[in-house]
């Protein structure tokens, strides 16, 4: 059901990620101020963009779930948020390393983008505790969807509030003024973003396929051996029949 195109996507994401890293290592020039350290930017920023996009996508699939009541949409929303949380950890780690290298501290409070990301991350970290403390599978999906919609709308609002609260020291790489990246950096950055998006979609499809296969296996086992053949429902995946 979810497995179509998985092979092509896997190959594409492998090529794109390798290509992006090759561009980062050999093609993009070293930053004039920060030198080699600045290259973590090609990992950190695409990760952050994809993680935030994943949270919003989780909200969009949640809306679709509430409209269609199709369990597949709920699963899509769940997996998108789940993966974005993992990427979110990587964003906070790489951001912290970059902050230490370029500003001299592991954490910089008057830096709005990092702080807003942390708040969004903390909010979505509650997605799974909320979801798995509801027993009934249908209600679980419905409540998780409402939470995902609120969270998706919260992302832009939160960025606005935190941005207003502080002076700006974060580099505005793609600002409306046109940014300040030379051409080679810009190309490398765009390739990195595309590579990260394709990687995210591939991982997302893999997990969807795996979860779906697991559920089908349970259903078959149950049909063969009766209710006793299957253990208690896993608490690490949405319970679906």
């Amino acid at each position: 059901m979810f497995g179509r195109g998985l092979k092509t996507l896997s190959i594409a994401s492998l090529l794109l990620i390798c290509g992006a890293f090759a561009l980062v290592a050999f093609y993009a020039p070293n930053d004039a101020d920060q030198g080699f350290v600045q290259k973590i930017f090609y990992l950190h920023v695409p990760l952050a963009i994809v993680a935030l996009g994943g949270f919003v996508a989780g909200g969009v699939y949640a809306i679709r779930y509430l409209r269609s009541r199709d369990r597949a949409d709920d699963l899509r929303s769940y997996v998108a948020i789940h993966l974005s949380l993992i990427l979110g950890l990587a964003v906070l780690a790489t951001g912290s390393i970059w902050a230490k290298a370029s500003w001299g501290a592991w954490w910089v409070w008057d830096e709005p983008t990092l702080v807003s990301f942390l708040i969004v991350f903390l909010l979505f970290a509650c997605y799974q505790p909320l979801r798995f403390s509801i027993e009934d599978p249908e209600r679980q999906a419905r409540y998780a969807a409402v939470f995902a919609i609120i969270g998706g709308a919260f992302v832009p609002l939160n960025f606005l509030a935190v941005r207003l609260a502080d002076s700006l020291i974060h580099p505005r790489v793609l600002s409306t003024t046109g940014g300040s990246m030379p051409g080679e950096m810009r190309i490398t950055f765009l390739v990195s973003v595309v590579a990260m998006i394709v990687l995210f979609v591939t991982l997302w499809k893999y997990e969807l396929t795996s979860k779906h296969a697991g559920m089908q296996l349970r259903a078959l086992k149950r049909r063969l051996g009766g209710e006793d053949a299957v253990g208690p429902l896993s608490r690490t995946a949405p319970n679906q029949v």
Partner: protein
């Protein structure tokens, strides 16, 4: 309206939520006096202490908001009644707003008496505007979070976990707007854009809550 009256009557008879929220606020002020080791506060520190305390008190109220419905089967009765489901959201948000206003009517003067250095009387109208806008946002988000959490096993854990990140923008905006009002050099002008942020937050989450609240009440 009947729903609001029912909840207010319940609160007046049991006196459960509002006195607890008020006592909690006063204890927290005392804790801050020793935690910060200051006898008077002003400016941004005063504003931060006030807002963090009010927010934690509000979390207590959110925890209690839907408990009676769940324990006494009020959700079923409500679903049987021929009314729009959105009206339950509006009623509950109004009740939580009322609780917050009642707590603040008592807790803010106590704060001014115990901890605040400069007198807030000169900036009273501005302070009231900030309080009302922030309460509105906390009431909307709190009602949503309370309704989300009441059906879960770990209700008292879920409410603060969800509510605190969600209301962070309110604390940022309200804290920034209140800080100049409590400044030692006398109240400075109120930065208008923070009221704008609070208003935008109230509007966005108000519309969002009206759109999604129905789905929480389906069974």
């Amino acid at each position: 309206m009947a729903l609001v009256r029912k909840d207010l009557a319940l609160e007046l008879r049991t006196k459960e939520a509002v006195p607890a929220m008020f006592l909690f606020s006063v204890s927290t002020f005392v804790l801050f006096r020793f935690g910060l080791d200051r006898t008077t506060l002003e400016g941004d520190l005063a504003s931060g202490v006030l807002w963090v305390t009010l927010l934690f008190a509000a979390v207590l109220g959110m925890n209690r908001l839907f408990v009676a419905e769940r324990e006494e089967g009020g959700f079923d009765a409500f679903l049987l009644a021929p009314v729009d489901r959105t009206s339950l959201f509006v009623a509950k948000a109004a009740v939580l707003f009322g609780f917050l206003v009642a707590v603040e009517l008592a807790a803010v003067p106590v704060f001014a008496l115990l901890l605040l250095g400069p007198s807030p009387v000169g900036a009273l109208p501005e302070l009231l505007a900030v309080l009302v806008l922030a309460d509105l946002g906390i009431a909307i988000v709190g009602t949503l979070v309370g309704a989300l959490a009441v059906q879960t096993r770990a209700r008292d854990l879920i409410v603060p976990l969800l509510a605190l990140p969600l209301v962070t923008p309110v604390v940022i905006a309200a804290g920034q707007a209140t800080a100049p009002l409590l400044a030692e050099a006398g109240a400075a002008a109120l930065p208008g854009r923070w009221l704008g942020v609070l208003g935008l937050y109230d509007l966005v989450f108000g519309l969002l809550a009206l759109a999604v609240f129905d789905f929480l009440l389906e069974d």
